[in-house]
Symmetry: C2
Subunit: 156 residues, 2 copies
Amino acid sequence: MSNSGESKLTKRLAPVAKCDCGMALASELLLEKWTMLIIREAFYGVKRFDDIREDIGIPRSVLTARLKHLVENQILEKKQYQVEGARARPGYVLTAKGRELSLTIFALMQWGDKHLKDGQPAIALNHRDTGVPLKVALVEANTNDVDLAEIDLTVL
Amino acid sequence: MSNSGESKLTKRLAPVAKCDCGMALASELLLEKWTMLIIREAFYGVKRFDDIREDIGIPRSVLTARLKHLVENQILEKKQYQVEGARARPGYVLTAKGRELSLTIFALMQWGDKHLKDGQPAIALNHRDTGVPLKVALVEANTNDVDLAEIDLTVL
DNA sequence: TTTGCTAAGTATGATTTTCGAACTCACACA
DNA sequence: TGTGTGAGTTCGAAAATCATACTTAGCAAA
């Protein structure tokens, strides 16, 4: 991923500009302020309204609106959950559609860690069984990739 | 990437929540309305103010603000450019830092195409030389990935 | 040297969103 | 009956967005 200035890419692409490659739609749905952070929370397994709110510092009313929007669009699912000995509470968990945003999220983390901090990642992604470190990358389509369920996340 | 409901992941992660993995920073910088679409335009090689504006439909004053912000943060670089027989104009092009957002962008496209449209991608990514189709994926860190300069984008 | 054209911005006032603080409501437990 | 907790709702002030109109700079033909 090192390509200085004018690549063949840049030259050939101008006509592509207006084509809607699904990204404009995704952008409308996902790239409002707070939304990606909410989804990241869901990734981390944070389910509860007040926990999400405290973790990311979003105002209540905005969180309410965002959650509603994400549920309507099947990124999150609202389901009651029960912690031992506490009463049932509404919780928000990722749907399959939502879980597939992991790539986008990890790509964003990877970039942010590299360019917006010291360069050191704050979270390590490893294969759960083998321990091999993982990364998001552009590869040939038939390369076999790691399933979300096989990831081990560690805070550094 | 198929993992239904409660994975080990979800259970182990709760404590990670507040840790700042660079994504919060990235989110602040990149996930304002319009910003990713502007970067996508830059990817496509669209350099000019009015072209960007028309392609994505952003108001002038907002585009001015976003470009300024992106230049200040070294995602874009403002440089004059000259088309044969026309006069020099300011143009906006990606820096190396900006170019590395390609993964995030492609991941977003991939997701959007799959879930927000018919499922058909609107743009194909292929290796420039071999023609092999490409994808964004989570892989072992030592897997060798495809350089941006070796990509061939085709509108379908 | 004036007039006209093109493209990159600025300015501005109306509209929409966000923000934060206070309030409500349902439920459990004592 | 009262107290606490957690998930929202309400609401007015502040900030951001939007559309439209205006300005500015460079060049070229008249």
